[in-house]
């Protein structure tokens, strides 16, 4: 009866369409292109499990911070201070670990990082100052604090035992074959339900992908712990955002703060909460950083905030709040690190890397903004 041309079964299409899944396609495309070029250039190891594990490992810190950044962006704010906060956490961890042991030191580091997040959130929400300028201020101030704490020098952990525990926390190898199979099984269950209920094939594809991945990587595949932590953080954040009322409220707060307020949502609490989460995640990234090296330098992680935000925005998170997906953010981070890893593997002339990276980033974003014109889906509804 209508002349509005609706697609036959919209959820089927949109779940896999360029707009919704574009960032995954972008990553896949990049991997394929790099693998082909690497092969042609006589570097066949590119798609090896070890190298894929490396990419994941290299992207893990940015990924963890990116997940939290996505939460902040969803609430309509902005956090530039994550790099500095991570450095502060690392400095506190390394500075205290010899004295009080690894676990208490890590606790202190996380607590401090969360406190900085709380401070950011409180200033933004109670004084009403723009989040950009506030977190730019804390970016500078916290980096200054790191300089004061370290006296401008690098710190390192001396105690061999403590160091060993820190390294174990960050650098042991974790076999992943079994875990991947379990995940694939869980996803398969979910896929069946999703297909029966809503004819969505997205989850089925995800389950298949994980299964194939597990088989491809093989029984001996291991990853470093940060990859696992990233997976856990991402899953937890995804669950909260997509499956709980807290998540809905976070989207509401960012999508239209006034509507959220009028619906009885404590807008400030959610906005401040997002900053605390961001601080905590930065702190955790800092702890991992400190454990990775058993040391920290005062300029550690400088400038990483831009990479983190880039990952989130590449993943389709809106700078204006109300939309964003943590899984896509992690994919965005993987795109960025796949690229630099590819440059390294291909031994691409350093001078050309920047140019190519810039172009690829824009092209990746173009894939789903240009390709994905059409009906949108609600925030957080996609996997």
């Amino acid at each position: 009866m209508t002349i509005w041309t609706k697609p036959a079964s919209p959820t089927w299409r949109t779940g896999l369409g360029l707009r919704d899944a574009g960032v995954y396609y972008a990553l896949l495309l990049l991997l394929i292109v790099l693998a082909l070029v690497a092969n042609a250039a006589g570097r066949p190891g590119y798609l090896s499990p070890a190298n894929l594990g490396n990419i994941l490992y290299q992207a893990s810190l940015v990924g963890i911070m990116g997940v939290a950044m996505t939460v902040v962006l969803i609430t309509g704010a902005f956090d530039l201070s994550v790099g500095s906060v991570a450095a502060l956490a690392a400095a506190i961890l390394v500075g205290l670990a010899d004295g009080i042991g690894f676990v208490p030191a890590a606790g202190a580091a996380l607590a401090t990082a969360a406190a900085v997040g709380l401070l950011n959130g409180a200033i933004v929400n109670f004084l009403g100052i723009n989040a950009f300028i506030v977190t730019l201020g804390t970016l500078t101030a916290v980096r200054g604090l790191v300089l004061v704490l370290t006296d401008g020098r690098s710190l390192m952990v001396e105690n061999g035992d403590t160091l060993a525990r820190m390294l174990a926390f960050e650098s042991s190898r974790i076999p992943l074959f079994g875990a991947l199979l379990v995940v694939a099984a869980l996803l398969a269950v979910r896929a069946c339900l999703a297909f029966i209920r809503a004819r969505r094939v997205g989850p089925a594809i995800a389950a298949l992908a994980v299964l194939l991945l597990a088989l491809f990587l093989g029984r001996d595949f291991t990853v470093a712990p940060p990859v696992l932590y990233l997976a856990i953080v991402t899953t937890a954040a995804w669950f909260v955002l997509a499956r709980t009322v807290t998540g809905r409220r976070l989207y509401a707060v960012g999508g239209n703060a006034e509507a959220a307020r009028l619906s009885g949502i404590d807008v400030r609490a959610y906005k401040i909460g997002a900053f605390v989460v961001s601080g905590l995640a930065a702190g955790f990234a800092g702890v991992l950083f400190g454990c990775r090296l058993g040391a920290v330098n005062p300029t550690a992680l400088q400038g990483s905030e831009l990479t983190v935000i880039a990952a989130a925005i590449l993943g389709g998170t809106s700078l204006f709040g109300g939309a964003g997906s943590v899984v896509k953010t992690v994919t965005g981070a993987l795109i960025l690190f796949t690229l630099t890893n590819g440059f390294n593997i291909l031994n691409l002339g350093a001078n050309y890397q920047g140019m190519i990276e810039g172009i690829v980033v824009i092209a990746a974003a173009a894939i789903y903004t240009v390709g994905g014109r059409g009906p949108r889906r609600a925030a957080g509804a996609a996997l």
């Binding site: 239209n256 509507a259 009028l262 609600a378």
Partner: protein, 498 residues
């Protein structure tokens, strides 16, 4: 009589910029009754509503809820106590789905509960309205968003439901749905309803009691049965309002607007339309029938559109810039999203389409002069032309959007629901203004969901359905019911129920 559910006494409000919106208003709302709240634009209705729902703090007076004193510290408290509100500027989250917006005030921890979805679906079925629960609210036109807000309030299960102009941007069919909902809530479920509207027929047929505000004070409070439309209109305007009457046989000139083969893929089928100089052509249709699309297509505002537009024999290219340069004016339906620049003062908003016509230098004095004239002409209630538009009441903001296009350069007026949210007195004034423009030879194309308006002032009425013009009538040859039937709606039940 039963004790009121909510009792407001001496509620007063002074805004930080010095505007006194309420001088001390009394209001009593009772379960099982529909209470109408009326008043001219800027009389203070929305302000009162915001105070009752905890969205704004009062600066004086008391509110009693179920016999106990209530000072809401925020909207959450009022919601929890059992007051649900549909605000005038429909606050929804554009990035969430229809379902999630409806469930926005729900607690619990699971986001995607199937029982809640079923509950909302059942509710929709009960009120007989269709909504795509998974559509993104940001993609919906304003009428559909209004319905989402209504369903949201409905789903909250509150004892008092406050509706601030719920029907202002709805067309016939959806209005019927709203009336059905209101009756069901009040009479079947014994809830209290506060219903704000500028449509007197609605008020008369729907409400049990009315309160009329004027300049922040109660001007009238009486049982509806004791009143008629004229008496209410007089109370609102503070003067007697003459009903619009058709001027027979107006002068009509040569064809001015000739549009051929206008179409927008998937939204507007190939359409030809001609409007003569001095002619007022109305477009009737249901929500989503493509009326707005047609006006936008004439204005060249669609990125993907085909067809030709000629004004007085001159072709007009398909872009808003060329349309404005050719003297075409479009008053869009969604004033907040399409009509004004929120950060601008009134005078800058009014001047926006005209600056640059003469010189590349701004002439603020001239702009202010023009704005002051428009404020006087449309009776916009504002301290001065320097007020930011977002500080105006809804109807007055709408008048600013109309005032943007009342300059001398306008050679074709496209009006999309120009009277949405405008009070009865001003509505008559605006319609008369439109007539006077037409009398001066201006071609006018008027979209309105208020079919009586169309019949009153148009020369010819086109009926749209599903993106096409399906009928054309001389205004004198058809009545409201006939239009409704042509548009594909069902006949209103208002009169029977009253």
């Amino acid at each position: 009589m039963v004790t009121p559910l909510l009792l407001a006494q001496g509620v007063a409000k002074t805004f930080p910029n010095g505007t006194i919106a309420l001088h001390g208003v009394d209001l009593a709302l009772r379960a099982g009754r529909v209470h109408g709240l009326l008043g001219a634009n800027g009389a203070g209705k929305s302000t009162l509503v915001k105070i009752l729902s905890g969205a704004l703090p009062a600066s004086g007076g008391t509110v009693t809820w179920r016999g106990a004193s209530a000072r809401w510290t925020g909207p959450a408290r009022a919601r929890a106590a059992g007051i649900a509100t549909i605000y005038q500027h429909v606050p929804l989250v554009p990035t969430l789905s229809v379902l999630e917006n409806i469930l926005l005030d729900r607690g619990g921890w699971r986001r995607d509960r199937r029982d809640q979805r079923a509950e909302v679906a059942a509710l929709l079925a009960r009120v007989g309205h269709e909504l795509d629960l998974d559509a993104l609210v940001g993609d919906l036109p304003i009428g559909a968003r209004q319905m989402v807000a209504i369903v949201q309030a409905l789903a909250s299960g509150a004892d008092l439901i406050v509706m601030d102009e719920p029907t202002a941007s709805l067309a016939g069919h959806e209005r019927e749905t709203v009336y059905r909902i209101v009756r069901m809530l009040a009479h079947a479920e014994q809830r209290a309803i506060l219903f704000i509207s500028h449509f007197l027929d609605e008020i008369v047929s729907l409400t049990d009691e009315v309160t009329v505000l004027r300049d922040g004070r109660v001007a009238l409070n009486a049982e509806t049965a004791t009143l008629d439309e004229a008496a209410i209109a007089a109370a609102i305007a503070g003067r007697s309002v003459t009903a619009l009457s058709r001027t027979a046989d107006r002068w009509i000139g040569a064809p001015a607007l000739v549009a051929t083969g206008l179409s927008v893929p998937g939204r507007l089928g190939a359409t030809d339309i001609t409007v003569a100089a001095g002619e007022i052509v109305g477009i009737a249709g249901l929500l989503g029938s493509g009326r707005s699309e047609l006006l936008h297509a004439i204005f060249g505002a669609h990125p993907v559109q085909t067809g030709n537009v000629q004004l007085h024999g001159q072709p007009v290219g398909p872009s808003p810039e060329e349309a404005v340069a050719a003297g075409i004016a479009l008053v869009p339906e969604d004033r907040a999203a399409q009509g004004y620049i929120p950060q601008f003062e009134i005078w800058k908003n009014i001047g926006l389409p005209h600056v640059g016509a003469g010189s590349w230098l701004l002439d603020p004095a001239a702009e202010r002069g023009a704005a002051d004239a428009a404020i006087a002409r449309l009776a916009i209630r504002t301290p001065d032309a320097d007020t930011i538009v977002t500080d105006l009441s809804g109807g007055n903001a709408q008048k600013v959007v109309i005032a943007k296009w009342l300059g001398e350069r306008t050679r074709l007026l496209l009006l999309d629901e120009p009277t949405a949210g405008i009070d009865i007195g001003a509505r008559t004034d605006i319609l008369q203004l439109i007539q006077s423009f037409a009398d001066d030879g201006l071609p006018v194309l008027l979209v309105s969901s208020e079919f009586s308006e169309l019949i009153a002032i148009c020369d010819r009425i086109l009926v749209m359905r599903d993106g096409r013009i399906v009928a054309e009538r001389r205004a004198g040859d058809i009545d409201e019911q006939g239009l409704i039937l042509l548009a594909g709606g069902t006949l209103p039940t208002v009169e029977q129920a009253a």
